[in-house]
Symmetry: C2
Subunit: 316 residues, 2 copies
């Protein structure tokens, strides 16, 4: 028995075949290229069909398909809102795929952030937890949250929008773009904060070039102890710690897992983030939580989508 | 058919008889006085027994008893930690009451904050919601949280400790006492902030007396537009709004209900709090939430305990 998992990102689609025990047997990626709307749905169908045929040839029975999408899944409708995929405002992905795979292979769809935490609980840093949060820090910031063994979705399926956490006063009207926490401490935020500090510091003669700063440039400059890079990342450590603390005080979880593109390079700061979180969080909840970097890294969503597929056919 | 509800506070015990439709038929209160440890358990038993006898005399069959306690309920053990009741560190309340009421009348125990939100969902400001948060602002701050129809408890049953929310930098070591949010915006926090501002403002000649300031003094001085009272409460409005915003962005709930002793007098600020929350929260989640003051007020925990009792015997 096997399941197919797909992880749709902003630029590429990863698909994989998993056995029932969670072994990743085969993985493939395809670029999204300039595809829009239905063409992205077609790409998912094509890649899944390819994996399905290959599995069938080897005598493996694919029992379910799970898809992780970069946005919000409206569970009741089976539609997807994905801000980085043109035309996916209310895209009927579930209907689309159900038409292709018939009633034979059930398809489940989840947001990427839900997939991350399910993956880490199944096979990663939050292994076996019933209460855990995945804090995804990439271009933006979001969280996948499992409480008492169940995904937190919210009334409009947009729960976990932690990029909007209010963490520092006074309010800056720029926060209205993407949220206070994301504005300062997501990948784009790291670059933005460095640019702002460079503009403010006239005599700066460090490693960062004002032309085009991305988060990776700030991490690189940090390695050489560039003062602006140090200050910006120190600030981020405080904000990441405060956000972790807030999730710990609210949820009293067993694990907080940091992942996404920024963790990655920010993985080196886990001890500093733990220390910062310990200053702010409810002390008993803090004593009982582990704060870890993702162990599944870029495969977390694939594992989570596979788990969702298995969970779906087991009737949960 | 009827149920008995009890709401144990820091200074008094309220008990009530409810019919199955949620009608409050009879209510009584008893002072805790100097009672400690087992004597408080005895008081609960005595009051419930009294209500039970009175109901039986009138021909009403009491089917369940629900108790709300001012602290943490360890659900697996049936023990209670209540910081304001001496000797209730791990008090075996469930065992205690089960021994009194035999197997005949099932007893359920919940934390007061869980009772608040269940009460408001059953008969108050969050009526009919499947996703809602009660933000209790009294001497301290805590939240009762229901997600997808289920109480959020956390791994050690201490979820909802939102008094510890990190909302403003830099970290002040004083926050370690009770949490950043509670330190500044609970009842005690309001008094503390006013004292701090008076100490800092040498020429202050307003209405507040430095000797003994309580939250109610600050609210009274606010009515006469005392400048320190205005500043302190303006600050609280910002913090209450930020906390509501964080709960909205994380949970995407249908309702946030403000209650506890401070709401009360702070109920006049609901519109200002809504406006503040709207600045910080995820915009779609904010558009879909209502932010209300408690309608059940001091009876919220009684209603919630009655609901928990009914829920318990219905097998949920």
């Amino acid at each position: 028995m096997a399941v197919i998992a797909a992880d749709l990102g902003g630029t590429k689609l990863a698909t994989a075949l998993f056995d029932a025990e969670g072994g990743l047997q085969h993985k493939a990626t395809a670029p999204i290229g300039g595809r829009k709307g239905r063409a992205v749905g077609d790409l998912i169908r094509r890649e899944c069909t390819g994996l399905l045929r290959a599995a069938t040839k080897k005598g493996q029975r694919v029992k379910a398909i799970g898809i992780g999408v970069p946005g919000i899944c409206r569970m009741e409708e089976g539609t997807v809102w994905a801000p980085n995929i043109p035309g996916w405002d209310r895209y009927p992905l579930l209907e689309d795929l159900a038409a292709s795979f018939g009633g034979e292979i059930p398809v489940s769809i989840e947001s990427d952030r839900s997939c991350y935490i399910m993956g880490e609980i199944w096979k990663g840093s939050a292994s076996g937890c019933r209460n855990a949060v995945f804090l995804a820090v990439g271009t933006g910031i979001g969280a996948g949250i499992v409480m008492d063994g169940r995904l937190l979705r919210g009334a409009q399926d947009i729960g976990g929008a932690v990029g909007w956490l209010a963490l520092s006063r006074p309010f800056n009207p720029e926060f209205a773009r993407c949220g206070c926490f994301e504005y300062q401490a997501a990948g784009d935020g790291i670059a933005r904060m460095a640019r702002e500090q460079m503009a403010a510091e006239k005599g700066y003669a460090g490693l960062l070039s004002p032309k085009k700063i991305r988060a990776e440039d700030v991490f690189r400059a940090y390695e050489s102890r560039d003062p602006i890079a140090c200050r910006v990342l120190q600030d981020c450590i405080e904000l990441w710690g405060m956000a972790a603390a807030n999730l710990i005080s609210i949820f009293n979880p067993e694990a907080i897992v940091f992942g996404g593109g920024v963790f990655g390079p920010a993985g080196q700061f886990m001890e500093a983030i733990r220390k910062e979180a310990g200053k702010w969080a409810q002390p008993i909840a803090f004593k009982n939580v582990r704060i870890e970097a993702s162990t599944l890294g870029g495969d977390a969503a694939l594992y989570g989508a596979a788990f969702a597929a298995l969970d779906h056919i087991s009737g949960n």
